[in-house]
Amino acid sequence: MAIPSALVTLLIGMALTLAGLWVGHNVRLLPVEASANAPVYDALFEVLFSIGTILFLGIVGLLLYSLVRFRRRPGDSGDGQAIEGNLPLEIVWTAIPAVVVLFVGIYSYDIYERMGGMASFHDHSVHDQSAMAAMVQEASLIQQVSADPDGQERIWGGIGQSNAAAAVLPIEVTAMQFAFIFHYPDSGITAGELHVPLGQSVQLRMEAKDVIHAFWVPQFRLKQDVIPGQPTLLTFTPTRPGTYPIVCAELCGPYHGGMRSNVVVHEPDGFDAWLQSNRPAQVAQAPAAPFS
């Protein structure tokens, strides 16, 4: 029976780690992956889920064990051990969370960069004639870019790759109570649903008409607030054909729950067909709100 406690601790720790890794790898909590962003996100999720499971099971196991093992037996009115502290132990359980948190932080920084989060810091100043003076000032303060005489607008950075400017499909998004409107500046199409081609980088330039909304596609793992007075950018590459919900995620009024639309990811041929059939010459009327 004389198993050294160090060995028991080691075995329990290994079992916990394996259990956490198994849970993180096998328990699927997320919806399907439909953008280039989603697998990266899910990799981060798996790491966080595994670490979280290990910590939670470990701490709760310790708690339950203590409650059972050290419960007061009937008739016993004595005291426990007078142990007031233990410095090496304190150092260990300060260091472990610090290391875990540092690792998670560095890893999520890496994920963030792979998602293109840092790119927006450098690239998201686009040329726009209707720039507001305040925006220029913001730009010069935050980006150390001198106020461009042509008017350089500070676009509050969203997330997404914005490297290959030529290949990007630009779409203007207007959010209002309680609908999204999508305008394709290249083809002049205006629609209440977002149609995008598979595998092509899409850049949404979003602005709200009235209050703050948020553009969220759970299957893309992307969300960006749509803010009145401050255009925001969101770039993504759809990787899975299908129809996915666009959800407003910022309380915007009574019909907030109904402010939904769809994003349709077409095969490239299908997208061209959609473009052809929706040229403004044929569809001249105002866009229908998807829900009201």
């Binding site: 406690s5 028991v8 909590l29 997320l30 919806p31 990266v40 996100y41 966080l48 979280g52 939670f56 701490i59 709760v60 310790l62 708690l63 203590s66 409650l67 050290f70 007061r72 016993d76 004595g78 005291d79 426990g80 051990q81 007078a82 142990i83 007031e84 090496p88 304190e90 359980w93 300060t94 875990v100 948190v101 998670v104 932080g105 999520s108 920084y109 963030y112 989060g117 927006s120 810091f121 305040a134 509050w156 950075g157 997330i159 209050v211 703050i212 969220w216 969300k223 803010i227 007075g229 401050q230 407003c248 995620a249 309380l251 915007c252 009024g253 009574p254 907030h256 729950g257 109904g258």
Partner: protein
């Protein structure tokens, strides 16, 4: 130091008996009870509002209340639970009742300010709730009141909301100043800071946060009210204002507000566990430093609520790192509590069960919190039910569970009678199961696409929403054994004696309930508030393996 004698009290204008609880009493114990009872009344109102929300969400359609009403209900629910229930109870109720005992004083530093602070709360609460009936429409913009939505929803309700929150913020600041002064200046001569019970440190840290951050909220809300009444343009983009600035200012208070709600709870748990485990609080010094670290870090993490707003990337990264690091001092506290339990002789009564459930819930909420601090993770789940689940694990699973634990622990002190254990354990079981049934499924809902604050949702989410609503129903039912227990015990419960838990902290070294100036004679000097435990072994824990420790525990 004289003690008030009964003859003097006869001449006092203050009412005696139960009427004193409705008076402008200056006694910190009366004020503490006033906070507690007032807080519970608002808890029941806020809970009923939560019931409306869960009933609406039992079906995917908006079919129970109108959409405007739904937004009013969720706004009032959040505002009441934060500003009228948790903040006043963990700070005002237990802070006022316990802090003067712990520092060896006969009252708070500013008794009159204390009474004013309490008496701001009932009018503010009544004002807030009556806005639903009088102003025609209560605030509909959520407890966050983000402009421009708060500028475009019915103005009267929004203004009443602002007034009410300003009054409550004022009350909170008065209380904070009082706690700081009492802990720093009213300590009994000979009592050193590092000899104070942990709850004093928790209240000191909390009060520093209150005093530093609440004025920012007050200023912000005054600017917001200017935007609404005087049509200024601070936060109105149509007039050149900036809506994101409001969010920075708002969260500069409202993130520390989370610590204003949980730090006192940390302090209360640190008082409860050693008494019932019959062991000293483990790692007193590191507990103190970790509270102060949480206070400092808590002030520089606010923008993690804004990762999907227009924030520059460097800012997102800074706030990710700062937020993640709060896990370190918080982790220290949890490991210290576990070490306090380890090797003790734990009485598994209601107070301990609620305290340990607090550890369970808060660790879960803390882990999802570290995940939420990561920008890429947050970008998917921000403003979804995942966040709703996370913060209910923190403020309900954390603070509210501790309020219940504290009620079972200190009720004998308040009334001289012991609460019934069977009803207490029933209350615990219903609350624990109901709470986890209600909020655990919401993590999945958020990950899969259900945003928060909606009255209608994708029918694919119906099942788990119904499970969540059943959990909410259990939580509602769980208040019945609590109320029955508290009322029956007050009338005919078994007498507790002065110190039923054999505790060493100074509030137990007097009669239960205590006399007006706390002690009949001089205040006791308690330099070892956690001096429990048998010094059977002079050996240090570090030199022992776990198995050795268990065997010495047996002997």
């Amino acid at each position: 130091m004289t003690v008030a004698n009964p003859a003097e009290l006869e001449q006092s204008l203050q009412p005696q008996g139960w009427l004193k609880y409705l008076s402008f009493s200056l006694d910190h114990k009366v004020i503490g009870i006033q906070y507690l009872v007032c807080g519970f009344l608002f808890y029941f109102i806020g809970g009923a509002l939560a019931g409306v929300i869960r009933t609406e969400l039992a079906s995917p359609l908006s079919d129970f209340v109108s959409r405007d009403t739904y937004n009013e209900v969720l706004t009032l629910h959040g505002t009441i639970m934060i500003f009228l229930w948790i903040v006043p109870v963990v700070n005002g109720a237990f802070g006022n009742y316990l802090i003067p005992f712990y520092v060896g004083a006969r009252d708070m530093a500013f008794p009159r300010l204390n009474a004013v602070a309490f008496w701001l709360i009932p009018p503010a609460g009544i004002l807030l709730i009556s806005s639903y009936f009088i102003a025609g429409a209560a605030s509909q913009s959520g407890w966050t009141a983000y402009p421009p939505l708060s500028l475009t929803t019915p103005a009267a309700g929004q203004i009443v909301w602002i007034l009410s929150v300003l009054l409550l913020g004022g009350s909170s600041i008065f209380g904070g100043i009082n706690f700081i002064a009492t802990v720093l200046k009213l300590r009994r001569p000979g009592l050193k800071m590092m000899q104070l019970p942990m709850f004093c440190w928790a209240m000191l840290g909390t009060s520093i946060l209150v005093v530093l951050s609440t004025p920012v909220l007050a200023g912000t809300l005054i600017l917001l009210s200017f935007d609404i009444i005087a049509h200024t343009g601070f936060f109105n983009p149509a007039l050149g204002g900036n809506v994101v600035v409001y969010q920075h200012l708002f969260w500069f208070y409202s993130h520390p507000a989370v610590y204003i709600m949980v730090l006192p709870a940390f302090g209360l748990v640190s008082e409860i566990l050693p008494v019932h485990a019959r062991k000293p609080l483990f790692g007193y010094t590191t507990m103190v430093y970790s509270i102060m670290a949480i206070v400092v870090l808590g002030l520089i993490v606010w923008a993690h609520h804004m990762f999907t707003s227009g924030t520059p990337p460097w800012m997102r990264l800074f706030f990710t790192i700062a937020t993640s690091f709060i896990a370190v001092p918080t982790g220290i506290k949890f490991f210290n509590w576990l070490a306090t339990l380890w090797g003790g002789k734990i009485a598994l009564n209601s107070a301990v069960l609620f305290s340990c459930a607090f550890i369970f819930n808060f660790v879960f909420g803390g882990i999802t919190g570290v995940a939420l601090a990561q920008v890429p993770f947050d970008i998917h789940v921000h403003d979804t039910y995942f966040v709703v689940a996370h913060f209910h694990y923190i403020v309900y699973g954390g603070s509210v569970f501790v309020i219940f634990a504290s009620l079972y622990h200190w009720y004998p002190k308040f009334t001289g009678r012991l609460l019934n254990e069977d009803l207490g354990r029933l209350h615990f079981l219903l609350t624990f199961i109901g709470f986890n049934l209600c909020f655990a499924p919401q993590h999945w809902l958020g990950l899969n696409g259900m945003p928060r604050r909606v009255a209608e949702y994708d029918p694919a989410f119906t099942t788990w929403n119904q499970v969540s609503s059943v959990g909410a129903l259990l939580m509602a039912i769980s208040t019945l054994p609590l109320v029955i227990n508290v009322v029956l015990t007050a009338v005919s419960g078994p007498l507790a004696g002065d110190n039923p838990w054999r505790a060493l902290t100074p509030e137990w070294l007097t009669t239960s309930p205590p006399p007006v100036e706390n002690w009949a004679g001089e205040a006791p000097l308690v330099t070892e508030p956690y001096g429990y435990g048998e010094h059977t072994s002079a050996k240090d824990l570090g030199g022992l393996s776990g198995r050795d420790l268990w065997s010495t525990g047996k002997s």
